[in-house]
Symmetry: C2
């Protein structure tokens, strides 16, 4: 079995964040599978096949790429950000587990990338500078009660929280419900960052607080970071404020 | 004030993970500050100053770099991995907050990188494929009781846990204490990954379980990932098993 499947992280959309490993893997691939918006970011190469599919078809896309690789081809699946964080690598692993034994003999490579929370954090300072968690707010594949329990646990123990998938057309109320819930556990002055389309032309970054946040601005391309009681805002004249979470624990609020 | 300070993530040690943005920022810098082992990874450039300092001197290093930038220079501070995750970006922000007003007028750029947990996860599949947290096990700057509380909260709510700084010469018992504690909350067959020096010549990756883990192998260069009850191991003949956390919540253990 000589087939190879690379699951490649493209980073958050700026070509300057595409790693050399990701670029080399893309160049070597005979076929590239992905959601259309991600495929559009990959420079076309003569003779390389393209297989575009819808955002929601992760399992089918992973299976199609595995079937192709099992024929002996060098195949790539592309993800925005890092493929291992709420993205295609888990879908590929799940298909391998459920699929024919031959898929376990394939050469599988996961090529890491800059995940959205790192790019958003970098734009404002270091809000993820100490203990933090990453939580998908989508209740398509898990019960909302579990999301509530995780929000409570994370905020209660002082983790900074990065929210992936905060809003979609089919999930309009979840972000508001999450903020209501966090508002009961955290001070209203807790720093909050909305980072939208980081590294792309329509990038937008907003630093606000839990009490003052305007959730209407959040959409599918937004990542939200909610600070802990330790997180600090440093005002700067004429510039976006810095937001950071110190490595040193200073509060008596244990 | 024309000074610029870039805080640059070098990634976990393989040059193929250094982003084009990081490379360009390094090339443009007149002076580079960093821990010696990280500076050693930066190719020397004629006329570029180097300022090496010890691993523990983050605050002093950040202040020295800020003073230099405030003289109008283009200065870089380098971090392994991502500078915003348990690294130099928070130290730089803290010095700016505490320092002279002029430092707030500097052009500060945080250049993200592949943080260790993404590289370790990529080597084995997608253990961070769903909700997870990143926790530093160092009790140098926070009380051990807070670490215990965060371990309990994370494991209790079903987050996968990435442990940074699991062991050092001065902190020999903390990892064992953390595993004992997690062993009370999680099944002994919970998947565990030890990833050491990923992307470097002496890289080592081990997939084991909470009950069978041999902690003696962990050192300062190790990152540990502890799965949730959802995390799965997929055996592969002649290859490292795949480890992944499905996006779909399957258990009734809410």
């Amino acid at each position: 079995m000589s087939g190879r499947l690379a699951v490649i992280g493209l980073g958050p959309g700026d070509a300057r964040w595409l790693t050399p490993e990701a670029e080399a893997s893309l160049t070597a691939a005979e076929a590239v599978y992905g959601y259309g918006a991600y495929l559009d970011r990959v420079p076309t190469r003569l003779g390389q096949e393209r297989h575009s599919s819808d955002n929601r078809e992760e399992g089918a896309r992973a299976a199609a790429a595995l079937r192709h690789a099992a024929q002996g081809a060098n195949v790539a699946v592309v993800s925005g950000g890092d493929p291992g964080v709420f993205a295609m690598a888990a879908a590929v692993c799940a298909e391998i587990e459920a699929g024919p034994q031959a898929w376990r003999a394939l050469d599988i490579a996961i090529v890491p990338g800059i995940t959205a929370m790192l790019a958003v954090a970098a734009r404002v300072g270091a809000p993820l500078g100490h203990d933090f968690c990453a939580l998908s707010l989508s209740d398509n594949l898990k019960p909302w009660e579990l999301i509530e329990r995780r929000l409570d646990a994370a905020a209660g123990a002082g983790f900074v929280i990065a929210l992936y998938n905060p809003v979609s057309r089919a999930r309009p109320w979840q972000l508001g419900a999450a903020f209501d819930r966090l508002g009961r556990l955290l001070p209203s002055l807790t720093p909050v960052i909305f980072g939208r389309a980081i590294g792309r032309g329509d990038e937008r970054v907003e630093v606000t607080t839990l009490g003052a946040a305007n959730l209407v601005a959040a959409d599918m391309a937004t990542l939200v970071i909610i600070g802990s009681v330790e997180t600090r805002i440093v005002a700067r004249e004429g510039r976006t404020p810095l937001v950071y979470t110190p490595r040193e624990f200073a509060r008596a609020s244990l």
